[in-house]
Symmetry: C2
């Protein structure tokens, strides 16, 4: 079965492809021209659904199966920020490094070297017959000292509970096992298999 | 597992209880005071989600599992009406018989004794971790001569494809097998079993 991803983010495409190897995973921009998907929701869940619905409509294919991911990190000491603004915390078009650096800077302003934090992933699936959106969470801490080159986003400053390495240092097999995205995808796959 | 229904409609409660015998099915009004749930959506899907979310919020219980159903009949010769207005086609507070009679009257105005039609059911499930909404359809014809006392809603005028009896005449085992609601619930149960 072909699973169309409502993202062009290469990090997400790679992770989802690894986690959904039983499906043919295709970014939507390989089928229709990429377009701006407004993430106007107030929650991960709403944004994931908005993206999946927008791509489903754009494809104009009643048999399409579209998967969207909206995810981000919530840092306790920053009142839960950057949350749904994780991809644009340092401004629209900011790089992963800029966003990560802003978290580090904000923590340092508070004279903190770390804080409890968690990642949330909302995975939405949209077909003609159904809509499904499910959350996965990963709890841990952020540190103000980035370490490791693996992963993407905030991975170099996130240390999952039970580990001493950051997600940027952990091997991808371990990350696949514990990540918010893989937890959500595991449930999503139950639904995908009913199609 | 306890499954809270976002409905007080006794016909729906009975059907869902029969179709979900592996769960403890409880109408929400047995847990909190019944309240008006505004069905302001423009689709069955939206209304089912609105109802399930409203009840989930009202319960204030993070571990709750809420199921809502929004369903109705679409009559081809009436331009797809009454659709999401099936429960209030003859006006707010109208009885099943009033609504059914209005479909019959509208068809007669067009000098028709029947029309192709289909039932749609949207079943929504809401928990803290996920939202799921799935459709089931049943195709057939409506007739202007009501027959049978079984079922509820428009069942006495709906003849499913492949049958000569109306849903009001068919036994409940047969209805359970072919109904829009049971098709949607079958998929919903796949998701409920992941909880």
């Amino acid at each position: 079965m072909k699973l169309v991803l409502a993202t062009s983010n290469s990090g997400k495409v790679r992770e989802i492809r690894e986690l959904c190897s039983e499906f043919e995973v295709v970014p939507y921009s390989q089928i229709v021209s990429a377009f701006e998907i407004e993430e106007s929701g107030t929650t991960f869940k709403e944004n994931a659904l908005l993206k999946a619905r927008a791509v489903f409509e754009a494809l104009g294919d009643e048999s399409a199966v579209v998967l969207a991911d909206d995810s981000g990190i919530s840092v306790d000491a920053l009142g839960g920020e950057p949350s749904i603004y994780s991809a644009r915390y340092a401004g629209v078009g900011a790089s992963d490094r800029d966003n990560l650096q802003k978290v580090v800077d904000e923590l340092k302003k508070l004279s903190l070297s770390g804080s409890k934090a968690h990642y949330t992933a909302a995975i939405a699936i949209v077909t003609r017959q159904m809509e499904y959106v499910v959350h996965g969470w990963m709890y841990g801490e952020v540190t103000t000292t980035p370490r490791g080159d693996g992963g993407f986003g905030y991975d170099p400053i996130f240390v999952p509970d039970g580990f001493s390495k950051t997600l940027g240092e952990l091997d991808s097999d371990t990350k696949r096992e514990i990540s918010h995205r893989s937890k959500a995808l595991k449930l999503a796959k139950v639904v995908l298999k009913t199609l």
